[in-house]
């Protein structure tokens, strides 16, 4: 209970201090400090709120873009052919120049014919010869993958045979041009025992084309282009990897991933397995560098047109089944987009070196009774330094001060031709791992 004296004292202060409004005049400096506090607050939540969302979108884009943009290249080639056709129609001078190039190609091919029993010499034949050959291979691929193109074939044959309808409907041009080579090759399929023969067979086509400058311009110009593009689809053996981060940490990771040659679609893919050990070092609050060793099996099945070898098959196999074992040594940098003491989200990139531990290729033929080479095992170990681009996004969840779990969608894109088959083998997948934080006490 308050005594009278206490109550009096309390009243003096409560009443005397009750209306302070007029005693503290407003000061602009105080508002400036207030505004600075508000500005600081405003920026912070924007980052915290949006970064995880943006990082999630980035991770999805990584996978989707990788999947979508690396579709089979053939439709793009057809588009390129169509573009060339259009261009050539509007430029007669260019057509004439190309006709000249065709003459050169005839001479080169004729020369190649003279040495048709020597496969090594075939490899040395002129670029035009190779390009024409590549067109043939591209045609095989088209036959296998596109019924639509096959449907157009009769019309093309007609055009080619008649050789009178110069530049006709541009829309049909692109498949037409491909079919041009296809038909010629098909016609001569019976005696197409070797590359040189096939090349020789292509000559009449070139002649036909030359007879009609406009059409020829299209065909001749298209053929080299096709050859180049298809060649870029070369087959390679390879595998995948990924990286991690904390201060100083060791990570064990594994994944089941998808391998594809030239794309992840069109049936030319296979499922592989990866297991690896990585060491990572946080070089700053945001950046982490990691490296290690990842063992990966990379089985895949692809069309023979994606397989490139100096060995000349009497009859080209239909497809190639590859079994590759790779030791992947990555060197990656990760950037932390968001992190608190429990969760971290980062994106990263880097390069991988591949050591091919084992390479085996099995060849499948259209005729099951054909007695051609059935398999090829590479006898030696090949090394490819920094030949693969790594892209990854990583989510890490800390279990305690020592251990974290992580999930990492990744994409590996080949930068160079790798393996005996020289295939452009890319890999995507989701790696799961456990990270042991070596300096756990300082780990956030």
């Amino acid at each position: 209970m308050k005594t009278e004296e206490e109550k009096k004292l309390d009243d003096i202060f409560s009443k005397g201090l009750q209306h302070p409004n007029d005693h503290s005049p407003y000061m602009e400096d105080d508002w400036n400090a207030m505004e600075a506090m508000l500005d600081k607050h405003k920026k912070r939540p924007a980052i915290i709120y949006w970064l995880p969302v943006l990082a999630g979108v980035a991770a999805l884009l990584l996978v989707v873009v990788g999947w979508w943009l690396l579709r089979p290249a053939v439709p793009q080639h057809a588009q390129q052919v169509a573009n060339h056709i259009k261009k050539q129609r509007n430029n007669a001078d260019t057509a004439e120049r190309i006709a000249k190039r065709i003459d050169t190609s005839e001479r080169s091919i004729a020369k190649q014919n003279n040495i048709k029993n020597n496969t090594r010499d075939i490899n040395k034949s002129s670029n035009v010869s190779q390009q024409l050959f590549a067109v043939k291979r591209g045609t095989h691929q088209k036959q296998a993958n596109s019924n639509n193109y096959a449907a157009v074939a009769p019309q093309v044959t007609k055009q080619m045979t008649g050789n009178k309808q110069a530049a006709t409907t541009p829309a049909v041009k692109s498949p037409d041009t491909v079919m041009l080579a296809q038909n010629v090759n098909k016609k001569n399929q019976a005696n197409a025992g070797g590359v040189a023969v096939n090349a020789a067979v292509d000559i009449p086509r070139a002649n036909d084309v030359a007879a009609n400058p406009a059409t020829n311009g299209v065909a001749a110009n298209t053929a080299p282009k096709l050859g180049t593009d298809v060649a870029s689809n070369k087959i390679k053996p390879k595998r995948a990897v990924m990286a991690y981060r904390p201060q100083f940490a060791l990570s064990v990771l594994g994944s089941t991933d998808i391998n594809g040659v030239g794309s992840f679609q069109g049936g030319a893919q296979g499922k592989g397995n990866t297991v690896g050990l990585l060491f990572s070092a946080g070089v700053s609050k945001r950046f982490t560098i990691s490296t290690g060793a990842v063992y990966s099996s990379k089985p895949y099945l692809t069309g023979f047109d994606n397989y490139h070898s100096a060995f000349q098959f009497a009859t080209d196999p239909l497809s190639v089944k590859a079994d590759c074992r790779v030791l992947d040594i990555p060197l990656n940098v990760d950037y932390s987009l968001f992190g608190n003491y429990k969760n971290k989200l980062s994106v990263g990139t880097g390069l991988s070196s591949y050591i091919m531990l084992h390479e085996n290729y099995q060849f499948n033929y259209a005729d099951p009774y054909y007695a051609g080479p059935s398999s090829y095992t590479v006898p030696h170990t090949n090394k490819y330094f920094l030949g693969v681009l790594n892209l990854q996004a990583t989510y890490q969840r800390q279990l305690n001060s020592k251990f974290s779990l992580s999930a990492q969608p990744f994409l590996k894109l080949p930068l160079t031709n790798i393996g005996a088959g020289q295939a452009k083998l890319q890999t995507t997948g989701l790696a799961l791992g456990v990270t042991w934080n070596l300096n756990s006490s300082s780990n956030p």
Binding site: E5, D10, L17, P20, H23, S24, M34
Partner: protein
């Protein structure tokens, strides 16, 4: 400020409109500063606490129930922020020896009418622990149980701190009276205090060579 204007300002603050925030800040600056000054030792500390309080207001204003008085809500936030500040600075609080204050006699508080600035200065001179309890009990009207809960102390400490705070304040009022009367004496307006000196006081001064 009329109610309609206030609601308009609050709506602006909900949308994080900086102009509305500044107007609200200015409108309640004096009120908020008055509260914070009572809980802190000086103006700088008070301004810091007040801004932290307004920061809470601006970031939580969408949780304010407009059916209730805004000023009461704001005042409570300022008090709570002041308590947070007190807790954060507990190490600076000290326990003062109140022996001298305990000898302050009753009866000196009759009909005092001290100025705001003087009263504020007295409260600010109190040690943090006493000041906080005195504010919460004597001015805000909380019970010792509530205060104990808010400050994470027991009720005995709360009562003790309040008692010591009151004794201190009484002493300050007494001292202020003394100074005031001395000024009056020196100007020749009042001589009564001469009588207040007794023989013992004079003797003490004498035997100690004037050191008292």
């Amino acid at each position: 400020m009329i109610e309609e204007d206030l609601h308009h300002l609050i709506s602006g603050c909900v949308k994080q409109d900086r102009k509305a925030q500044k107007m609200l800040y200015k409108a309640f600056y004096g009120f908020s500063m008055g509260i914070c000054l009572r809980y802190t030792g000086n103006r700088d500390e008070a301004a810091e606490v007040m801004n932290q309080g307004f920061f809470k207001v601006f970031t939580r204003i969408d949780s304010f129930d407009r059916e209730k008085p805004f000023k009461a809500w704001l005042g409570k936030i300022m008090v709570n922020t002041s308590i947070d500040f007190y807790r954060a600075n507990l190490k600076m609080a000290y326990t003062d020896d109140l022996e001298k204050a305990e000898h302050v006699s009753d009866g000196i508080l009759a009909d005092r009418n001290l100025r705001y600035d003087d009263l504020l200065a007295m409260v600010q001179k109190l040690p943090n622990a006493y000041r906080t309890v005195f504010n919460l009990f004597a001015i805000e009207g909380y019970s010792h149980e509530e205060i104990a809960d808010m400050l994470h102390i027991n009720t005995g400490t709360s009562k003790s701190n309040l008692h010591k705070a009151r004794q201190k304040l009484k002493q300050m009022i007494y001292d202020a009276d003394e100074q005031s009367n001395n000024r009056n004496y020196n100007s020749g307006m009042d001589y009564n205090h001469i009588v207040a000196f007794n023989g013992m006081d004079i003797k003490t001064i004498f035997f100690n060579n004037g050191r008292g």
